[in-house]
Symmetry: none
Subunit: 217 residues, 2 copies
């Protein structure tokens, strides 16, 4: 279940896409202009962008540039594909030629989310089993109690596994936007996760930066 932004000026298409994504359980935000999209992205974290290439006020690529880091799927009309494809050399992105089948879009969305680890409901490692939707954790079969805030933090860590995350970023992604406190809050929460789940080895401290959840490697 991911947070997805749909940027497409044609209302009918935008609605259609949003509707279908919502149907399969994602949280969808709709934007009709590039400006709108950027202002939304500023305020809420997003897992995936679906960008129309041709827009009245700008084009999907420049929006994508400004939101670098967030994976994207581009919607492009038939003529404009070939030369622009260079944009997608990266791995997390994709594009679809209009007109498209809704099932195709849904499939590609799932594929991208799977690649970027953004929509997993359950996660298993060692003797740990975490269900983010049920909000349950078992360790070696025994249930463990986590608080909501601990789930939020753990989820961010796991979904960005093998990436070093700054405290600032962890704050942004796992805490309510309004939260401002600059303090040792995160350290304490990490400590609680390590203790409750026996994750001393998997949640690694990056000196002077933040933390990283390690898997495989």
């Amino acid at each position: 279940m991911a947070r997805i932004l749909v940027l497409e000026d044609e209302k009918a298409i935008n609605d259609l896409v949003a509707l279908n994504l919502g149907m399969v359980g994602h949280t969808v935000v709709q934007a009709f202009t590039g400006k709108e999209a950027l202002s939304i992205a500023e305020r809420t974290p997003l897992d995936l962008l679906i960008l129309d290439v041709m827009l009245p006020d700008t084009n999907g690529f420049s929006v994508y540039e400004k939101l670098k880091g967030t994976p994207a799927i581009f919607l492009t009309a038939l003529g404009e594909t070939a030369d622009k494809v260079k944009g997608f050399e990266r791995g997390a992105d994709d594009y679809i030629v209009k007109p498209f089948e809704m099932t195709e879009l849904l499939l590609r969305v799932e594929a991208v989310l799977r690649r970027t680890h953004k929509s997993e409901r359950r996660y298993q490692i060692d003797d740990l089993e975490i269900d983010f939707e049920a909000k349950t954790v078992t360790k070696g079969g025994e249930p463990v109690d986590l608080t909501l805030q601990e789930y939020a933090l753990l989820e961010v860590l796991i979904k960005n596994r093998n990436i070093a995350l700054s405290r600032q970023r962890l704050m942004r992604e796992a805490w309510d936007v309004s939260f401002l406190g600059e303090s040792r809050t995160i350290d304490v929460h990490v400590q609680r996760l390590r203790k409750k789940l026996g994750l001393d080895d998997r949640i690694k401290t990056i000196y002077r930066l933040g933390y990283r959840f390690e898997e495989g490697l």
Copy 2:
């Protein structure tokens, strides 16, 4: 296994759909006109409607309107999608563009049924036995009185069992859409369910979020 009405005037397609649905275990009723569909719906309870949008005597939407409450999947030809989509703002429904793959239809049927959990009418756990359609509950053989609202809440909890449900979501799904009150209503109703049904252990409080019905964990 659900009871499904197929309304589609082209006999070949209707038969095909009915056949396939029957094949996977559903009970299928076929209708070829809107009038027929309504008369059938009057007499037998249905879990899902599959409605052709274009019909000789009417259209799928108006049939849907008259049977409000029953989830539906619309079959629509390519041109007529965009403007009609407003019909699906609700969560339980879906649509498919003709021509479609039979597997796609079957998948969407299962998805809708899963979302609405309509394939189960009764639910049993421990010494409890609940019939959501009859609106009866027995606990250890003895009948228990629940109010309508209590059934609604219990149903949402059970049909989303093992998922942590926010108060907001419970409100949306178990109360009339229009309800806005930000209050302790849900807490009180949960408390009554726990007391009346002895569900203290099964309905778990998720601090700062809402509740979760637990089954076999």
